[in-house]
Symmetry: C3
Subunit: 340 residues, 3 copies
């Protein structure tokens, strides 16, 4: 068990209190006991800690927290994340290549790659050193996967998709399925437009469980570095998403849309096709974006509005009964005045 | 073929008519023929049955139905469900453990467990007696599955998830993927917060196809007993859902939200994070719940309102053109009055 | 490399310019170089082509396009789709039946069927000639799949589902999972109603990645010929969808609803149960359809309205602040008049 002093050194924090205290686990604030360390989120320094029983707390520097054992850092939640990794090191799913995996003769596996049972790696696929391919994953021909990636069970990666380094793909995600491209004959029959473009996933991206990222007709669907997608998200063909953008569950991005860097989207958002969203835009859950959002702002509503406008609209909409009442009152008064 | 008398005994019903009639199948009301039995939903007793050709009907006691052969019960639909099971006994997917399944040396399988081809069971996993694990299911290390569970093809259950007895998990569902937990550095780079918590699924739960239930950072995501989730539902990390709650397709529950018992949610509902929904609340499809619903009621709208209020708002919103007309009329009258 | 003359012949087009030009690839308009052919969408004939460097263009007959090398056709996008297929012929996923597939003794495979690694085909299943079953697909017992189908990796097809010819099922799709059918006891306990009906998928249908189509209690869920479903779509039990209907991502169709032919739905639409949608109806993204739409029209909004009405409602709703201002002004004036 590390001492509190060792933990402070690990997270680069300032130790106050008993550095020799042994810390057995990281815990949530209200669950932690005398052998645990927990964290106090930035801005919560004034909270009542009388019921907290944690052996030690991580808190923000300069926050004036009264607690016996403290480690002060600039970013408590990031330090907590670091400690979680330290106390819960990831155990590899599988060591080496399972005898019952299917590896094409022309596939190339880097050093230390692990491939679980019933995973299949197609012709010409290349998996970078240190990556893990879990049970039942299907990697089609010509796929490139970088170093230190983690592809969870039953994910599917279609042909020629390119995946960078340190990418995490959660179970059941589908990368590179055909975009939804159809044309119609004069008689109205839907005719498939082949989708032979590629999908490119940048370094450090994370793709949620059962999320789908489609390939395009002939160009590329691109996630720049460090994009984070939650579960059940739909990314249409020929979409481009900028770096560090985070998109919550069940959101859908229609074809050929461009999303900037550092965008944050809530869940169940829908974005129309061929629109542009500027860097740093924030989108409330369930918003329907029907046109471009060209500067950094927060949007909400269907169709989307700047969130302040949307809030005022909502207040007005919910005061309609009062407006109607006033209108009736005025009608009555005018009638009285006319009759006079 | 059972006789109508035998069927009446099986479902504890009161027989009227020809007890010797042989019943070959259970059928929908408008499809049933002379050898079939169908059911008449409670409240439909007054319906015109002149076109119905079923050999016999199950109907509600005390409902005064005029039909030659009847079995009267308290709950016709439940009796029908019981007969469906009787006439369509489930055939096991696989008998025993398939030679081409992958079972870790330290996994424990109870009596009568069946494991289909290409399913993988990780180290230390325990599967209770009578459970079926279908083709391609990935059970990670340390998972516990209770008795008489049914895990359909290609579902994925991540490490240390605990599943009770008689749980049904439909194809492609993902239990225990990482919650969507990120923090940002001062420069805006998204940093993953490890998700090392657990998911606990109570007895009798049913999880729809491609539904995702995330594990939390350090605490638990919990489904109490008998929770029913439809397909493509998203349950965020650290959520708790009370017993007998039913949630329709494509609904999403954000992190750390608490949902009571016996709640019924329509499809495509979104629930914000850290809110509480009281026992017995009903939620209309597509509702956006942005705050706690502290007592039993029906809600609708984005943001949610009590459904009566929401209906009145909708009526008012759709009468805006009339309101604007009245307003113009009053303006004109006042102008006239001013001019006089 | 085909000559432009050969390409014109292939797509039945009218050649203008250098028929001997060798065409190496099909490309997007703004990416094409001198060895590539691109297409100009119908209606775009007047566009500025000064920056276009394509060796040749496909354009609409009668559109008066000024470009050196042209192939004129009636439907440029369809011709482009045809050329995409010509330049990118699909490579079979697997030749023959993989040694590590699991094929039940009583399954029947037609001529030229290919089955990838870790796919499992249940008892009595029949796969038509020329169909491809990719890695990890689970075909349950009694399933029928027609000729020349393409079932991508890790899709799941539950027992007794019937699939026509030339059907494409994308990765992770689940066909025939149990419908979400429950009844409640007097005490409120949710009781499962067995789902023993079938799913029938017509010729030429395409089912998106991770899309779910449920089986019904006792009747059929039916997709008529050539229905196109995008990713993450939910089709409830006992639904019927007419031919050539196209439904975008994350849309959900509730149980027992009937959708006509040639319907086009945007993404994230929700349709209530037991409603009817007429042939040719178009539905805007995020619409909530709460009742039948009995004639061909475009609908939008929650609840849905004819789109013109919906647009007017939106304009009015967003002018509420102005209406309130007017109302206040009138109040003031009336007060002044009363005081006089």
């Amino acid at each position: 068990m590390p001492s509190l002093k060792e933990i402070a050194d690990l997270i680069g924090g300032e130790l106050h209190g008993d550095g020799g205290l042994e810390i057995g686990a990281v815990q949530a604030l209200h669950r932690a006991g005398p052998g645990d360390i927990a964290f106090l989120a930035r801005g919560k320094e004034g909270a009542d800690l009388s019921g907290v029983r944690a052996g030690a707390l991580i808190a923000a520097r300069g926050g004036d927290v009264a607690y016996a054992n403290l480690v002060l850092v600039d970013a408590p939640r990031l330090a907590f994340a670091q400690l979680l990794e330290h106390f819960h090191p990831r155990v590899p799913f599988w060591i080496g290549v399972a005898a019952n995996a299917s590896i094409a003769a022309t596939a190339e596996l880097g050093a230390g790659v692990s491939v679980g049972p019933f995973a299949s790696i197609g012709e010409g696929a290349r998996i970078g050193a240190g990556s893990e391919i879990h049970a039942g994953v299907a990697v089609y021909r010509g796929v490139t996967i970088g170093r230190d990636c983690l592809i969870y069970a039953n994910a599917v990666i279609r042909e020629n998709v390119e995946i960078g380094d340190r990418v995490i793909i959660h179970p059941g995600a589908v990368i590179g399925a055909d975009g939804f491209g159809f044309d119609r004959t004069a008689e109205g029959t839907a005719v498939k437009v082949p989708q032979v473009g590629r999908v490119i996933i940048g370094d450090g991206c994370e793709i949620g469980a059962n999320t789908c990222i489609d390939r395009s007709t002939i160009e590329e669907t691109v996630l720049e570095a460090n994009v984070k997608l939650d579960n059940l998200v739909q990314v249409g063909h020929n979409v481009r998403i900028g770096r560090d953008t985070a998109i919550s569950a069940q959101t859908g991005i229609s074809g050929s849309t461009r999303i900037g860097a550092g965008v944050i989207m809530g869940g169940q958002v829908g974005v129309a096709d061929h629109v542009e969203i500027a860097d740093g835009v924030m989108v409330a859950a369930k918003t329907g974006i029907t046109g471009s959002v060209r500067e950094k702002m927060i949007v909400a509503g269907i169709p989307h509005q700047e969130i302040g406008e949307w809030r005022r609209s909502m207040v007005l909409a919910r005061n309609l009964a009062a407006m109607r009442e006033k209108l009736r009152l005025l009608e009555r008064k005018i009638k009285e005045m006319e009759e006079k």
